[in-house]
């Protein structure tokens, strides 16, 4: 009999960590290099790309997905993978907001209700996940339950604000659409939180090495619940902004949000196994995907073509980053 050495139950998927330095900034630089390259190609092949209106349209499209991608990044960084119930929660927030405003509530109170409800749902999922249940399966199931409840409550119909449109729904501040501004502020806030605050650093440490984190007295439960709270805030913002902008909502609202947000995170190069990545990169990923989508719309590509290219970009970036990471380990 050969003795099999007892391997510690450390997360082997991430492998040994490369030393800080080049490997720290390289992925971020890569994302922005790809982004710049994408813009250059876009300008070359698309005549109307570099107009103020079009740039504004791209940023508007990127903002909702970007807010959600940035908000999901702490979950991913803290080692809790991803949420497959993203669209359902944001949609629920959107429907509740529109329904409340439509029945005469002041938007401020409607926002408070949406925020409180989504944080409650998020904390519930966070507690379950922190206890050790698989986050992917938990959020998939929670999403299905939320979808079923909202579909039942709305009878699958359209909810409208009716006689109470939200005055700031489509407003701009100094020419910048509201959601773009909020996207920028939210990204800065979450980015600073993750890099400059003790709580944020703890989240990253928990995702990068759970055992070490626990030995140094970091509560995995607190970290996970915290990450889910940030995520829920982002979902509430996305839901409210969508509801306020369109003035109506159905269970199909924000239909591709889950896939788009995941694509943004992955293209941004945040490692799903935790520890690596940043909200900045997810925001960059969201903008990159919006640029690609925009170029394809301007060049008359179909839904299928857009999805295929988006998926291909995700697959290629994910594989490239993995190869780079392995190289970094070898050196």
């Amino acid at each position: 009999m050969t003795e099999v050495p007892a391997t510690p139950a450390a997360p082997s998927a991430g492998g040994a960590r490369a030393p800080a330095g080049r490997s720290e900034w390289l992925p971020t630089a890569l994302v922005f290099a790809v982004l710049v390259a994408g813009v250059v190609v876009a300008v070359a092949v698309t005549p109307n790309f570099l107009t103020v209106d079009n740039i504004r349209a791209i940023l508007r499209n990127a903002s909702i997905v970007g807010i959600v991608a940035v908000a999901m990044t702490p979950i991913t960084l803290s080692g809790n993978f991803i949420s497959l119930g993203t669209q359902q929660s944001a949609m629920a927030g959107c429907v509740v907001f529109v329904a409340l405003v439509g029945s005469g509530w002041a938007p401020v109170f409607a926002i408070a209700v949406v925020l409180a409800a989504l944080i409650a749902v998020g904390v519930a999922q966070g507690v379950v996940v922190a206890a050790g249940l698989n986050p992917v399966i938990t959020t998939l199931a929670a999403g299905a339950i939320i979808f079923g409840v909202v579909a039942d409550a709305t009878n699958g119909g359209i909810v409208r604000v009716g006689a109470h449109p939200v005055s700031w729904g489509n407003s701009t501040i100094a020419g910048v659409p509201l959601e773009v501004l909020i996207f920028a502020l939210f990204t800065v806030a979450v980015g600073l939180f993750m890099t400059r605050s003790v709580a944020g650093r703890r989240m990253t440490l928990a995702g990068s090495n759970k055992e070490t984190a626990e030995v140094s007295g970091i509560s995995f439960r607190a970290v996970t619940v915290g990450a889910f709270v940030i995520f829920s805030i982002g979902l509430a913002i996305a839901g409210v902004l969508t509801g306020a902008g369109f003035g109506q909502a159905t269970i199909q609202s924000l239909g591709t949000l889950t896939i788009d947000a995941l694509a943004a995170i992955l293209v941004g190069g945040t490692a799903i196994v935790g520890g690596y990545g940043s909200p900045w990169r997810s925001a960059g990923g969201a903008v990159l995907i919006a640029v690609i989508a925009n170029v394809m719309v301007l060049n008359d590509f179909s839904t299928g073509g857009r999805l295929a290219v988006q998926g291909a970009v995700v697959v290629v970036v994910v594989i490239l980053l993995e190869i780079l990471r392995r190289r970094g380990e070898v050196r």
Binding site: T2, V4, P5, T7, S12, A13, G15, F81, I82, L84, V128, A131, G132, L133, N134, V136, I137, T138, L140, A141, A142, G143, A144, I145, F147, G148, V149, A151, D152, G156, I251, I259, L262, A263, L266, A271, I272, V273, S302, T303, G304, G305, R306, L307, A308, V309, Q310, G311, A312, V314, V315, V318, I319, E322, I323, R326
Partner: protein, 332 residues
């Protein structure tokens, strides 16, 4: 050996009880869910839900997860309908072979790069969906010659040709997983990957086989369902991931990898298709089915988690007692 059999029996006990309970509840509240008709409608869940759940279960046993099954089924549906001029069997073989090939490629990438399967299959979930839209030209593809799919609609008592096909696949894969070297390797990498590697299980082969099987099962499911329905829409089957995972886990496939058999999957599929047949007979919306599926999924995962944790605590206590009994280790 006796302990093994007892362990195996225990893993079937809970799903069997759940199946009996659901069956009794649904049969007593639904007039149409009785006798032969009820068995037939439950078996009709096997070609689509069952095959997808089977493929997913194999990836879960291997300690991975294939999120792209829904997109794969949709793509295979379009391919099967488009190639139906070569005949029913030919179209199904083409679709399934395509699924197996794409799956094998995914498995190869996952094994070679050591990439997390969630990451890659999120990407292919989007990519394959896009390819499906492209292949179908953004609109539902119709069968041109409806006689091609006639054999699938043939009914033999409680069976149909498509449910027989699905059950045969269940049987063959069950034997493959339980009695062949390739099949056992899948359990080995799911149960204890580092130990399996150390014991000489190859890095590449089990992962390729796992994802090829999952791709092939999803593709066959999509092909069967689309040919039977006479058309394939590119947006189809997005909910299959939820239902498939729910069925596999309901039946007692362990989310921690390395455990569970084809019989577990079959039990889970039977429970879930009884539930959806019952809800459909009562005129409930698809959204209610989703709600119930989600609730079932989260409860079964919670039950398994609690059971595992209690078991682990007992084991730790036992080991602590053993350590105290042993003399201290001698340095070599």
């Amino acid at each position: 050996m006796a302990a093994l059999i007892a362990d195996r029996a225990r893993s079937y006990l809970l799903p069997v009880l759940v199946l009996v309970a659901t069956w009794v509840i649904i049969a007593s509240t639904t007039d149409t869910f009785r006798g032969e008709a009820s068995v037939f409608s439950v078996l009709e869940g096997f070609p689509l839900l069952g095959l997808v759940a089977l493929g997913l279960a194999i990836t879960i046993i291997a300690g991975e997860l294939d999120l792209s099954v829904g997109s794969m089924a949709a793509l295979a549906g379009v391919v099967a309908v488009k190639t139906s001029s070569v005949g029913l069997v030919g179209a199904l073989v083409i679709a399934t072979a395509m699924g197996a090939a794409i799956g094998a490629l995914q498995g190869g990438i996952i094994a070679r790069l050591g990439i997390n399967s969630l990451v890659l299959t999120v990407g292919t979930l989007i990519l394959l969906r896009g390819v499906t839209y492209l292949a179908s030209d953004n609109r539902p593809s119709q069968l041109t010659d409806f006689t091609v799919s006639d054999p699938l609609l043939e009914r033999y008592g409680i069976f149909s040709a498509s449910s027989i096909t699905a059950l045969v696949v269940f049987g063959v894969l069950g034997l493959f997983l339980a009695y062949t070297r390739y099949g056992r390797e899948i359990y080995a990498i799911g149960g204890a990957r580092d130990e399996a590697r150390a014991a000489g299980v190859p890095r590449l082969r089990p992962m390729v086989v796992t994802f090829a099987l999952s791709g092939a099962c999803a593709a066959l499911a999509g092909g069967l369902a689309s040919l039977k329905g006479g058309s394939a829409a590119p947006q189809n089957y997005a909910d299959l991931l939820l239902a498939g995972a729910a069925a596999a886990l309901l039946g007692g496939i362990s989310l921690y990898g390395g455990r569970g058999t084809v019989l577990n999957v079959a039990l889970g599929v039977a429970v879930l298709s009884a539930v959806s047949a019952g809800l459909a007979a009562r005129g409930s919306d698809a959204s209610v089915t989703q709600l119930v599926t989600g609730a079932l999924l989260i409860s079964v995962v919670a039950i398994e988690f609690t059971a595992t944790r209690l078991g682990r605590r007992a084991k730790l206590r036992r080991e602590a007692a053993e350590r105290e009994a042993l003399p201290p280790p001698v340095p070599t």
